[in-house]
């Protein structure tokens, strides 16, 4: 029995498996080697694969072995076995459960609500946005204090190249910190006893020049929080492109969108192809162009331990206009906590593209003291330049804007 189960059934095609691609030609060999009762379990694993759950052949083997071990005495045993061996990530647990119910209980097809709708809406957005773009201004990030007005239109032919360059430069441009991991070095380090001793032994007791190790420098994490509320409508598509380039370019980048809800879209943006990645990310976000509840959403971000851990020691760039309606006490608390966690907290607002912009709203005034940078987020060029300059020291946002106003 278990011998049969150990056969590798299907190639591990993971996420990229197209709809039903491995269905046809493998079918005969499987039915030859598997008892008919086991077929549904294989079918379930395939169903999950088709919905972009990464499931390896050895996991299917494990799944079937687990079912055999458990009896199975009830459908719940099968469910537990699936959870333990197929290991769906906690974020997609409810989706997994829906598929399980649909497959084994024959419920109605699980609906991933509103997906179609959202996808079309974001596509429309992108279409209109391209035409509106030329009217936009461009300024160097971090140089907002200069009163000279730079009225240059944004040419979007160079748009893609700009991001390509940004992607290549990014990991070298991020600020560094000393890691606990050590690396060999020729100077300025501590004695590497392990290598020195083997050197001594191989040199027959002679003591050659000592070998050294030093703590490595690693780039800091980059955390992008993107506001997708209605007031940011014009910019979200650009921001997502930027986020995609950042995830592709930096070793450890995380991207979240927030509006009325908080959505982590990092995994969607890991797909190399930009169109595909953006479409996937667009489908994930449920609160496009809605209202903003910035304070509560950021507090929600902080209260999920593994999310707030992303912020620790990271360069946090928030892309938002920080237009908080009503009470901004929550926003203030959230920003203070974020700044305590992050190594550098920057707010890029499209409103700052206007040279007459001053941080005058009460919400902005309240959070200004905890911000390290308050910069122009109206053009991609300005933003990429700013992010590439994160490694360099800059005066606190507070002092810059005091001079201006």
């Amino acid at each position: 029995m278990s011998r049969d189960l150990n056969n590798p059934f299907a190639p591990f095609t993971g996420r990229r498996c197209p709809e039903g691609a491995d269905e046809g030609y493998r079918q005969p060999s499987i039915s030859a080697s598997l008892p008919p009762a086991a077929a549904p379990f294989l079918g379930f694993a395939r169903l999950l694969r088709r919905h972009a759950f990464a499931i390896a052949p050895e996991q299917i083997t494990g799944f079937m072995q687990a079912i055999t071990l458990l009896g199975p005495r009830s459908i719940n045993d099968i469910r537990e076995a699936a959870l333990a061996t197929l290991a769906p990530s906690p974020d997609r647990r409810s989706e997994f459960e829906a598929h399980f119910r649909a497959y084994f209980y024959g419920d109605a097809k699980p609906s991933i609500e509103g997906e179609e709708d959202d996808e079309t809406r974001i596509k429309d957005d992108r279409g209109t946005r391209e035409e509106e773009d030329p009217a936009r201004r461009q300024e160097k990030g971090g140089e907002l204090s200069s009163a000279t007005e730079q009225l240059s239109s944004r040419d979007f032919q160079r748009d893609a190249d700009g991001l390509g360059q940004f992607r290549r430069k990014l990991s070298a441009a991020l600020p560094v910190r000393r890691s606990f991991r050590t690396a060999r070095t020729r100077s300025h380090g501590t004695l590497d006893l392990r290598r020195s001793l083997s050197e001594i032994v191989s040199a027959d007791g002679d003591i050659p020049s000592p070998l050294l190790r030093r703590r490595e420098a690693v780039p800091r994490k980059l955390l992008l929080l993107i506001d997708v509320s209605g007031s940011m409508k014009l910019h979200t598509a650009d921001y997502l492109k930027l986020a995609h380039a950042a995830v592709q370019g930096a070793d450890r980048a995380e991207v979240f969108t927030f509006g009325t809800r908080l959505t982590r879209i990092t995994s969607a943006l890991r797909i190399r192809d930009r169109e595909q990645a953006l479409a996937r990310a667009a489908a994930l976000v449920d609160d496009w162009d809605g209202g903003t509840r910035m304070g509560p959403t950021l507090l929600a971000f902080l209260s999920v331990p593994h999310f707030s851990a992303f912020a620790r020691g990271a360069c946090l760039v928030m892309l938002s206009d920080a237009l908080e309606r009503g009470d901004h006490a929550d926003l203030e608390t959230a920003m203070r906590r974020l700044s305590a966690r992050a190594s550098r907290l920057s707010l890029a607002t499209p409103l700052a593209g206007d040279p007459r912009f001053r941080p005058a709203t009460s919400a902005l005034r309240a959070i200004l003291p905890v911000l390290d940078d308050l910069v122009d987020g109206s053009s991609l060029k300005g933003l990429t330049d700013f992010i590439l300059s994160l490694g360099r020291h800059a005066p606190a946002a507070d002092s810059i804007w005091k001079r201006v106003s």
Partner: protein, 293 residues
């Protein structure tokens, strides 16, 4: 003590749950099933969950139910092979070389070898359970090393040769999910996500874990903690904190404070963040009153 023994103990998920309860750990069906499968399939068990839901405690309880010693490898950023596998005692080696003078000496003898947790585990797989704690804190290179270890259960020491485990070791990994683990690692393990328990189970855990908390109080604490966890706090209280809170309040009550006040005064062991504290304190009275109900 052999793997046959482990299989005997892990007769069914229910048997495991009963034994875990005997070692004062309450596991739900799902966790008991995962433990059962990990032991019987001979795969490592990967536990994920928020801080303070009892991942490390689960590992300790598993070691206890199998009657084995727990070897713990605490991961941190920068951990490397020297901390996880083995290290030579260089100072002693140097001294030995000087001391030996003209005599021949084997400086790769056992007495110069410092066995780190993974090697300790390989040397006596039937007497030990390996806990690799907070693996999400280590970096990718270490994860790859661990992956290699978990697939073959062998370590090569260039000076000594390869050391293999005689039987399939029992390994438990925990992660707080501060970053996502490699798919390959998840794939190789039996996976279980530990969430916060519901109020009733939490009350049972408090009763079991704390010294002498009355049942009604345990229930009240569980309800209040559920209520507090629903708020957007910087650090939601874990189960361990809930147990401590119940203990602290009981001690204060014995010292003469009436119940609601005892809970309020002991809040420092439940919420350990100044801002959370100032957010909760105004409502605490109401929450405690309602929980005491």
């Amino acid at each position: 003590m052999s793997s046959a023994n482990a299989v005997e103990i892990a007769a069914s998920p229910e048997a495991i749950a009963a034994r875990l309860a005997a070692s004062r750990y309450l596991a739900d069906d799902s966790l008991a099933t995962a433990i059962f499968l990990a032991i019987r399939l001979g795969k490592p068990l990967l536990l994920e969950g928020a801080p303070g839901v009892g991942k490390t405690e689960a590992a300790k309880a598993i070691a206890e139910l199998l009657g084995r010693e727990l070897v713990r490898l605490q991961c941190y950023e920068g951990i490397d092979a020297g901390h996880a596998l083995y290290e030579w005692n260089y100072q002693r080696q140097l001294l030995a070389i000087r001391h030996a003078g003209e005599h021949e000496i084997d400086i790769y003898d056992d007495r110069f070898l410092i066995a780190r947790p993974l090697l300790q585990m390989l040397r006596a797989p039937e007497e030990r359970v390996l806990l690799v704690d907070e693996i999400d804190r280590s970096d990718h290179e270490f994860e790859a090393l661990l992956l290699e270890f978990l697939s073959d259960f062998q370590i090569s020491i260039p000076e000594r040769g390869t050391i293999r485990a005689a039987t399939q070791p029992i390994v438990i990994l925990t992660s707080n999910r501060t970053r996502e683990l490699a798919e390959a690692l998840r794939r190789r393990c039996v996976y279980h996500w530990i969430g916060y328990p519901d109020a009733q189970r939490e009350a049972e855990i408090i009763m079991l874990r704390s010294g002498d908390v009355a049942e009604a109080m345990a229930r009240a604490v569980a309800n209040a903690v559920q209520e507090i966890r629903a708020r957007p706090l910087a650090k939601p209280p874990g189960i361990a904190e809930a147990v401590e809170w119940a203990n602290a309040a009981t001690i204060l009550e014995k010292g003469g404070s009436p119940w609601p006040q005892a809970f309020r005064r002991a809040i420092g062991v439940l919420i350990k963040d100044e801002e959370d504290l100032s957010a909760i304190v105004p409502e605490l009275g109401r929450i405690v009153e309602e929980a005491l109900g």
